[in-house]
């Protein structure tokens, strides 16, 4: 592996709510090499999106990072003030939003919104050059260049998604964070956009953090997979390793309901029981209340890391050999 572009070290992020501190992200660490795609997967509410907005430094008023570092080319984004981090956003790290439908400002032409991003980060570029760039980007994502002069409400859902991807590419970022970019689309469009995104990523050898609850999508785009549960990263490894030999029982249960992107679409992975309350998470392993293999030690102490040639998981009772039908 080459020098990592992005390093996330012990990232923890909390929300302050009326009910108490929600520990949404708890000591998450991973690295991302140049040209690599890492897929973060987990149920809704497991902290995936919280990781994404922490990477961008786009925290809402009631959220704060309580610890850790986000190193982008060696510079810690979390230690920067608003003015410094502004320079990094979009130029070095950009984002494709979860609800792409609403990520475009309804009162401006789509092209202008992309030009705006380009001109902000390159004050010397001429307006004509910026517009040429937009035309090129539109071509890249498969949109007619004439659409740049249209307003968002004139775009279909899939077209908007493409426009948002084009926007995220505008400043040739090193890292792109894609937060459930295709969730709201129908399966056919979803598949097409996914392939295109993957192709663009490969051509530009851009690094990408791909966030989704849909493990089938992760298999298609990622080189490595990180599985999140209740604010923790519980397993991380190469896509094939995780798929063929999951270590953590949670990963195994996710895989057991593996839906195909070409077949029936499952919105949510369903397991028995609910996600734990993140204000007062369970002691020991956070998955123990739902885990079929839970023992006393799981309820008491934090699980150790089990490392199998760079493919690791945090578990007391790691699975030895996974058989597709053994669990559940």
């Amino acid at each position: 592996m080459t020098e990592p572009v992005l390093q996330v070290i012990d990232l923890s992020m909390h929300y302050t709510t009326r009910q108490g501190e929600v520990k949404a992200v708890d000591r998450v660490s991973f690295e991302l090499a140049k040209g690599e795609v890492i897929g973060l997967v987990g149920e809704s509410g497991c902290g995936k999106t919280s990781v994404a907005i922490s990477l961008m430094g786009l925290l809402p008023d009631n959220a704060r990072v309580v610890g850790g570092q986000v190193l982008l080319g060696g510079d810690d984004l979390l230690a920067m003030d608003e003015e410094q981090i502004r320079e990094y956003r979009w130029q070095r790290i950009s984002m494709v939003f979860q609800a792409a439908m609403n990520a475009l400002d309804p009162v401006y032409r789509v092209g202008d919104q992309i030009v705006e991003a380009i001109e902000t980060h390159d004050p010397n570029i001429s307006n004509a050059d910026a517009r040429d760039t937009v035309d090129r980007l539109f071509g890249l994502v498969g949109l007619d260049a004439r659409m740049a002069a249209r307003y968002p409400h004139e775009f279909s859902g899939g077209m908007r998604q493409r426009a948002v991807i084009a926007m995220a590419l505008a400043c040739q970022p090193d890292v792109m964070v894609a937060d459930e970019p295709t969730t709201a689309l129908d399966v056919i469009v979803q598949d097409r956009i996914l392939r295109q995104l993957k192709a663009i990523q490969r051509d530009l050898s851009m690094s990408m953090v791909y966030i989704t609850h849909d493990i089938a999508v992760v298999a298609e785009v990622s080189d490595r997979i990180g599985v999140m549960y209740a604010g923790r990263l519980v397993e991380l490894g190469d896509t094939s390793q995780v798929f063929n030999n999951p270590i953590h029982p949670y990963t195994a249960s996710l895989l057991s309901v593996f839906p195909s992107i070409h077949g029936e679409k499952h919105e949510l992975v369903t397991l028995g029981g609910d996600l734990p309350n993140l204000i007062d998470p369970p002691q020991g392993c956070r998955f123990h209340p739902r885990c079929p293999h839970a023992t006393d030690v799981c309820r008491r102490d934090e699980p150790p890391v089990v490392d199998r040639d760079g493919h690791w998981a945090a578990c007391w009772n790691p699975l030895q050999q996974w058989r597709a039908t053994s669990d559940q």
Partner: protein, 335 residues
């Protein structure tokens, strides 16, 4: 408070079902269901109250309203105990103990007397209850009409909806006080009639628009459909399922109506267009027509108590309304 105690369709809400331990539900008696509903409703109220308490302005407003209510109550008590009618009657009294009228504040007349020798404090206190009555009449009429119109328009849609909404647009576009001034040229307006007119204008006007859009979002909920499928009559659905869900918002708009009513009354009284014996607006009108108001601060007691009371009570109801709005509208809340 944002979610009214919703009335779930039978069997839809697991919280309302008993559990026999094996996951199978057993039917509950109607009384148990009612008690459960009440518990849910109370929980909603408690949460709403907590949000309301967070807004310092809303709490402050509530305190001010209570103070004004105490003022209203104190007048009959004072009249019955330490104030004699001949001197302190707000309309017919005369302060014989003062040589010149208007007299500045003194121990016997804490806020002085008006140009006609009447005690200002007594006038101020006795007017408080009329303002509350006016506000209550206007708010009740507004909310009764607006809730009905909103629910009916949202349930029937189509022509009924178009008619009421166009009517509301018309009323909203009209300047209300100008209209009341015109009406005062044609009819004798007293406090009660004024309250009813303001209520009718509000009820068919802006409040109806707001409540209709709320009713619309209620009427597409699954339990309304369920009630319809279960054979609930239209009247039954509107009264039992839609209207209860509008009540929190209606209550909120009562606050704004009170502000509008008190304000309008004061302006019309000030202009001398109402057939009312005493009110804060009349107090200022009396001093103004006697030519005391342009004298600056010399005769401050003729305008400041009444003017400040009108402003304070109006803005208080307005601020409480806004605080309730933050309770009812989660999009305005802090996350």
């Amino acid at each position: 408070m944002s979610q009214a105690p919703e009335t779930p369709a039978p069997g839809r809400d697991s919280r309302l079902r008993g559990n026999d331990g094996e996951g199978g539900a057993v039917a509950l008696t109607p009384w148990q269901i009612r008690a459960a509903k009440l518990r849910l409703g109370l929980r909603g109220l408690r949460e709403g109250w907590a949000v309301f308490l967070e807004s310092r302005i809303g709490v402050l407003g509530l305190v001010v309203i209570v103070i004004f209510a105490l003022m209203a109550i104190s007048h009959p008590i004072l009249m019955a105990t330490i104030w004699d009618d001949a001197t302190y009657n707000p309309v017919t009294g005369y302060a014989f103990d003062e040589i010149e009228q208007p007299a500045p504040p003194s121990w016997r007349h804490p806020l002085g007397t008006d140009p006609l020798g009447r005690d200002i404090l007594s006038q101020l206190l006795s007017s408080t209850s009329s303002e509350f009555i006016l506000g209550l009449v206007a708010a009740t009429v507004t909310v009764s009409i607006a809730t009905t119109v909103g629910a009916v328009a949202a349930y029937y849609r189509g022509l009924v909806d178009t008619f009421f909404m166009r009517l509301a647009d018309l009323i909203v576009a009209l300047p209300g006080i100008s209209l009341l001034i015109v009406l005062s040229a044609l009819f004798e307006l007293n406090l009660f009639i004024l309250g009813v007119i303001i209520g009718v204008l509000g009820g068919f006007g802006g409040t109806a628009i707001v409540l209709k859009s709320q009713a619309l979002s209620v009427s597409v909920k699954p339990y309304i459909e369920a009630a319809r499928v279960a054979g609930g009559g239209r009247f039954h659905i509107i009264v039992v399922h839609i209207i209860p869900n509008l009540l929190p918002l209606s209550f909120l708009y009562m606050m704004f109506t009170v502000t509008g009513a008190i304000f309008s009354e004061a302006v019309l009284s000030f202009l001398g267009l109402l057939n009312i014996r005493m009110s804060w607006g009349i107090m200022i009108h009396t001093s103004n027509t006697a030519g005391y108001l342009t004298g600056g601060t010399t005769y401050w007691w003729l305008i400041v108590p009444a003017g400040a009371s009108i402003t304070l009570l109006c803005s208080t109801f307005y601020l409480v309304g806004r605080a309730l709005d933050e309770v009812a509208n989660p999009r305005l809340r802090r996350q």
